[in-house]
Symmetry: C2
């Protein structure tokens, strides 16, 4: 019986995460309300509070869940320093895949802008740390490719991670405004090729 | 006497634009209120309405004012098809200059994300059209540089405008989160150089 209750609780938690994802993605953190999110799942505010004590906790749980899913679907067993081309290829495939999930691009576009411009935003630290971490992975991949001669010694790879993340994030905003005008995956692969001589199919 | 009233009205209008700029940049369009903006200038709501009939009109006036100032300070007499290197150089100098005006970067980051994710946002059309226009200028500059042989014939310049705007916008979000970690002007000049063989000082 405990097992059934546990299973039901888990399902409820995941429904709440999905509803919160969708509200945060369309309204931003500040404008979304816990009352809406609870109502989306037919749950009371108390019921929501049982799973997530605060709106901040709910937001961070949504972001961590996305990182978990991306990690599981795209980066399991990947090490940017050891197999750098494989890592960059997985990244490009993740970007292709994201184009089928506009809500996800909404979520990151809205929350990263909201939190970047407000040091007190509950996701400010999350985004700062996330950018640091992913820039570190990308920089490690480019450093490895330069060290093993795949990238020409004269090519500058310093802070390639910031540029790559920037390119992707900025293109996503344009893509949201005009999907037909922007192919993010193609732009990323051209950036690999023209900027660094890396040809990834 | 009419002249003095006119001058006072112009000054008041420009104070309101400045207060609105600052509120929209920190709070976003949805969270900023006309009551706050009016109070920032010691004006009544009626006084504000005399200058800007709606919140939407105020937002669009703020954005148009910024475009006017950027155009005046950086792009007067510039034609990307005729003097493409000069245009790209001016663009890089604008980006360097923006780093001294974090409020401006806030404004575009917040409003572009807010409006990109909401077709009913009052700035949705503005941002879509602005990206189209600037992409068009950049694409024209790169096409001219390829046509006159400055860029090698084998280099792909299609949709360079989307990539360049994306790179800049995305880096701005990272810069807001961690100013010391990101040099947007340097990244842009490297993109010119490594992606297209253009060396701009």
């Amino acid at each position: 019986m405990a097992g059934i209750g546990y299973e039901k609780g888990r399902r409820r938690r995941s429904e709440l995460l999905e509803a919160a994802f969708s509200r945060f993605a369309t309204l931003g953190y500040r404008n979304a309300t816990l009352a809406q999110i609870a109502a989306d799942c037919g749950v009371s505010r108390m019921g929501l509070a049982h799973h997530f004590r605060t709106k901040e906790a709910l937001l961070l749980a949504v972001l961590e869940e996305r990182d978990r899913v991306n990690g599981r679907d795209f980066f399991v067993g990947s090490d940017p320093s050891v197999e750098p081309l494989d890592y960059l290829d997985r990244f490009a495939r993740l970007i292709d895949d994201n184009a089928a999930v506009p809500g996800l691009i909404n979520l990151y576009a809205v929350l990263s802008a909201e939190s970047a411009t407000d040091p007190d935003h509950p996701a400010h630290g999350y985004f700062r740390d996330r950018y640091r971490r992913i820039r570190g992975h990308i920089d490690a991949a480019f450093a490895a490719l330069k060290a093993d001669g795949t990238i020409d010694a004269r090519v500058d790879v310093d802070n390639a991670g910031a540029a790559m993340m920037g390119l992707i994030d900025g293109l996503q905003v344009q893509w949201l405004l005009e999907p037909d005008a922007v192919d993010i995956g193609a732009q990323l692969r051209r950036w690999y090729r023209q900027g660094f001589g890396l040809d990834l199919a």
